[in-house]
């Protein structure tokens, strides 16, 4: 067994062990904390497999935002957890869930291990045709040019999820500010960190967006980093969550899919198909769409994490 295989096995065992711990954890909050560690550890596996774009997305969404979402949910449930602890699902239910999960996991393993060699893939075709848009990163090419329809619809799905969360607000609070007003000592450690870290984070987020053209990165990862920085500033009490009825909030949320749709319809009218980019303007159009999408993803994810409106002022 070479050294290389050893560390790969170690990494796999670590991640699997962490996953088992998360499932077995007694307290939901502890499991959420473990999930954050899990989401931040998984990018190592993605990088080992050569998928740096996925590693970026996993670190940003899985570890950062996803983990924090579970943390807030677990924190809200904490006060009632003792009361429902007595009503934990019985052994039969646990066993059934375990069996079903094992079946799904084994099916996935079988599918991956028994793929024909070489596995059927369109990757070489996608790489060959990168000259069509002039972008160097084949992942961005697939996302923005070859499967642009999927990307457009994903952003619409995000928007629908946000509307779903907003609909949890009581009638009289519709249009108010999401979440409680966070307070922290303006001369304290948290405010200091937010003031210093967030400008750096914004620069890094914009860099990841810009690098997505030719290197791993892209609008989604960049937008997620921006959303995390916005949430950090809100958590430090340096700014308040906006009222969701404000026009600039609404415009930012639809900017991404809106620009995407306009370009797509333009392709229909001036070109040969919906979302067909004219050859000469492909790259500038894609960059424009990506910038709009970054703003939208940042706003949408930030507001998703902030929750339904809880107050008026």
């Amino acid at each position: 067994m070479t050294i290389a295989t050893t560390y790969e096995v170690l990494l796999a065992v670590m991640v699997l062990g962490l996953a088992v711990w998360i499932v077995a954890a007694r307290e939901t909050f502890a499991a959420a904390e473990g999930f954050v560690a899990y989401g931040l550890l998984l990018p190592l596996i993605w990088v080992r497999l050569g998928s740096v774009d996925v590693a970026l997305a996993e670190a940003a969404i899985g570890g950062g935002l996803g983990g924090v979402l579970l943390l807030s949910a677990a924190a809200r449930l904490r006060s009632t957890e003792m009361a429902v602890a007595a009503a934990r699902p019985g052994r039969t239910l646990h066993l059934t869930a375990a069996i079903f999960s094992a079946i799904v996991a084994l099916s996935l393993v079988a599918v991956v291990l028994f793929l024909p060699e070489p596995a059927p893939t369109l990757a070489p075709t996608a790489v060959e045709n990168s000259a069509a848009t002039g972008l160097g990163n084949p992942v961005t090419n697939v996302l923005m040019a070859f499967r642009a329809m999927d990307t457009l619809l994903e952003k619409v799905v995000l928007l629908l999820a946000l509307v779903g969360i907003w609909s949890l607000a009581p009638e009289q609070l519709w249009g108010g500010r999401p979440g409680p007003r966070h307070e922290a000592d303006p001369r304290g450690v948290l405010a200091f960190l937010a003031r210093l870290l967030c400008p750096l984070g914004i620069v890094i987020g914009l860099y990841v967006l810009w690098a997505g053209a030719d290197y791993p990165g892209g609008a989604f990862q960049g937008g997620t980093i921006l959303a995390a920085m916005w949430l950090l500033v809100m958590m430090a009490g340096l700014t308040d969550a906006p009222e969701i009825i404000r026009r600039w909030v609404r415009l930012t949320l639809v900017a991404g899919p809106g620009v995407f749709l306009v370009v797509g319809l333009g392709g229909l009218l001036l070109g040969n198909a919906f979302l067909a980019y004219p050859a000469a303007y492909a790259k500038p159009l894609i960059v424009a769409i990506e910038i709009a999408m970054t703003l939208t993803v940042a706003a949408t994810l930030g507001l998703l994490m902030a929750g339904p409106p809880e107050r008026r002022v």
Binding site: I3, A4, T6, Y7, L10, M14, W21, F29, A30, E33, G34, V36, A37, L40, L41, P43, L44, V47, R48, G50, V52, A55, L56, A59, A60, G63, G64, L65, G67, V68, L71, S72, A74, A75, R78, G179, P180, H182, E183, A184, D185, R187, G188, V189, L193, L197, G201, I204, Y207, V208, A211, Y215, P216, G217, I225, A228, M229, L232, M235, A236
Partner: protein
């Protein structure tokens, strides 16, 4: 050089695994909050070495992202979902 980096990577991963076991077992919440910080340092060290081993310079971008998001997650954990940072208030400027 690649073999050396691979050996260092394996070593760091073993350290990370041992630390992770200890941190997640910790009796308090505060112990488990260190998990995100641990990955923020140990995981990033492993990632940078992994980037050198697999010759992927973009791994540094992932390291930047993990650094930012680990901090963000740590702060979310510390606040435990409450709008006030418990224990900050008046005593944040006191001390040695």
């Amino acid at each position: 050089m690649t073999e050396f980096f691979t050996g260092a990577l394996g070593f760091i991963l073993v350290m990370l695994a041992l630390s992770l076991v200890r941190v997640l077992r910790g009796p308090n919440d505060a112990d488990r909050m260190m998990a995100a910080q641990l990955i923020g340092t140990g995981g990033i060290a492993a990632l940078l070495l992994l980037g050198a081993v697999t010759d992927l310079p973009a791994a540094v971008d992932v390291a930047l992202t993990i650094a930012l998001l680990a901090t963000f997650a740590s702060i979310a954990m510390v606040k435990k979902g409450s709008p006030r940072l418990d224990g900050v208030g008046q005593d944040s400027t006191e001390g040695p």
